[in-house]
Amino acid sequence: MSRATEVPRVRIVLPSQLRDLTGERPVVTVAAGVSVATEASVAETFQSLRAEYPGVYERIFTETREVRPHINIFVDGADIRWSGGLETPVAPGSEIVVLPAVSGG
């Protein structure tokens, strides 16, 4: 595949609790979506993460493909709750941050 047709990759910063699934790496890079022809979404990017780092997806998402209630996802600093949810676009070079919420007791 030539560089011009490569799917861009984006950074995902993961919390310490998930790093046992990434070889202790706090940041991983995954394909943003499936092709250069379509704009990638958060949902598509996390499917790439699911394929490249088995187990991480299931700890962030429920079986109904929803983000677990006490997990927050940010794209370039913006909480996806207010920027389109899982359909939030992910541009080449974007950074996604996954963080446990300040909640619980």
Binding site: Q17, D20, G55, E58, R59, E63, T64, R68, S103, G104
Partner: protein
């Protein structure tokens, strides 16, 4: 972070007391005299543990736990060395299918199957469903007849969630099983799980306009004794009941208890007439009546109940014992154990006649299971 536990030192003949809390699991072990206890834990610090079980059917004991992270969800873990090591937390073997519209919230019950089928196990989960494994817990699938039940749309969660907390396989007929969940009540199958029908005749639902609906009751716990498999005892959200016909009908047995509200119920290991409960004052207050911590015991199948308080605090004891917070061991005389939401664990080595403290200061206790290590 708490010290890493090393596993329970329990050996053959010791009592293993498994205590699940909202912040991890603790293992206590004692010689058969049950006079002192050695603690190990917390396992899974920071995670709630609503279900624990010791499965000894395969020879060596297997310890099962269902920790749930508030952030990353529920898991099922096993240990073949009494908690020194645990299986991979990322083996998410208990999951609903992605098109089911359901997602696993919590595992409430771990139930090993009959002794002659060591690979058969069940789980009760939230949202209410029965999961079955036929390979010793390596893989799990929902029991489809229950998963797709036509009543599912009407079942509503209680304060603890829509939880399946009780699994009662019939002691002699492999095709028959009862489950109980809040709220929905008792359901039974006579065909190995293919179909399920409500079994709540006589059990009231104080919170419904019709106090005796076909289903929708908030049953808190059901127990039975394998020597008398048709008989069952039930602690309801308001109401104490006994059935003599495998849940076809239920009779009120709240005779002389300070309240018929409560959560916990446990069966004596050797006597099918003896049952233990911990009554609570009202569904609003949900604490022990008169601020006295008392276990109640019947030795005549509910015709009368006796308060057991020797060794338990009788002043300012505003305690709550939840539905899986009371259990018995299999020794003679029987050991009775319970844990409270304020983090106390008590034990009796004489059928409940007197009590001693096993632990204070634990996180809120949500599960107590006892077993004699084989």
């Amino acid at each position: 972070m708490p010290q890493t536990p090393s596993g329970s030192p329990a050996r053959t003949g010791d009592v293993l007391l498994m205590v699940g809390t909202t912040k991890g699991a603790f293992l206590f072990s004692s010689r058969s005299g049950r006079g002192s206890w050695e603690a190990d834990g917390p396992h899974f610090p920071g995670e709630e543990v609503y279900a624990l079980a010791l499965d000894q059917r395969g020879g060596a004991p297997t310890l099962w736990a269902a920790p749930g992270s508030p952030f990353f969800g529920a898991t099922l873990r096993r240990s073949d060395d009494l908690g020194a090591t645990w299986s991979d937390k990322d083996a998410r073997s208990v999951r609903f299918e992605e098109d089911s519209g359901l997602s696993l919230q919590r595992i409430w019950q771990i139930r090993p199957g009959p002794a002659d089928e060591p690979d058969l196990m069940w789980l009760g989960v939230e949202p209410t469903c029965l999961f079955e494994s036929r390979d010793g817990g390596d893989s799990w699938a929902p029991v489809r007849g229950f998963l797709e039940h036509e009543h599912r749309q009407y079942w509503q969660p209680g304060n603890g969630g829509l939880c399946m907390h009780t699994i009662v396989p019939h002691a002699r007929d492999r095709d028959r099983m009862l489950v109980a969940f809040s709220t929905g009540g008792v359901y039974g199958t006579d065909d190995g799980g293919a179909s399920w029908t409500p079994r709540n005749n006589g059990v009231r639902a104080e919170f419904m306009p019709d106090k005796h609906p076909e289903f929708g009751q908030c049953v808190h716990k059901v127990v039975h004794h394998p020597e008398r498999p048709e008989r069952l005892f039930l602690q309801n959200h308001w109401g104490l009941y006994r059935s003599e016909d495998w849940a076809a009908s239920w009779d009120d047995i709240a005779n002389g208890v300070p309240s018929d509200f409560g959560f916990a119920m446990a069966m004596h290991p050797h006597d099918p007439d003896t049952v233990y409960i911990v009554p609570l004052e009202s569904d609003e207050f949900r604490c022990t009546p008169e601020a006295k911590l008392r276990v109640y015991r019947t030795r005549d199948a509910g015709a009368s109940w006796q308060a057991l308080s020797k060794g338990l605090p009788q002043e300012d004891a505003y305690e709550t014992v939840l539905r899986d917070g009371l259990d018995t061991d299999s020794l003679e005389p029987a050991g009775i154990y319970f844990g409270t939401r304020s983090g106390h664990v008590y034990a009796s080595a004489d059928d409940g006649d007197s009590w001693t403290t096993v632990a204070d200061g634990l996180p809120p206790v949500v599960c107590v299971k006892a077993a004699v290590v084989a």
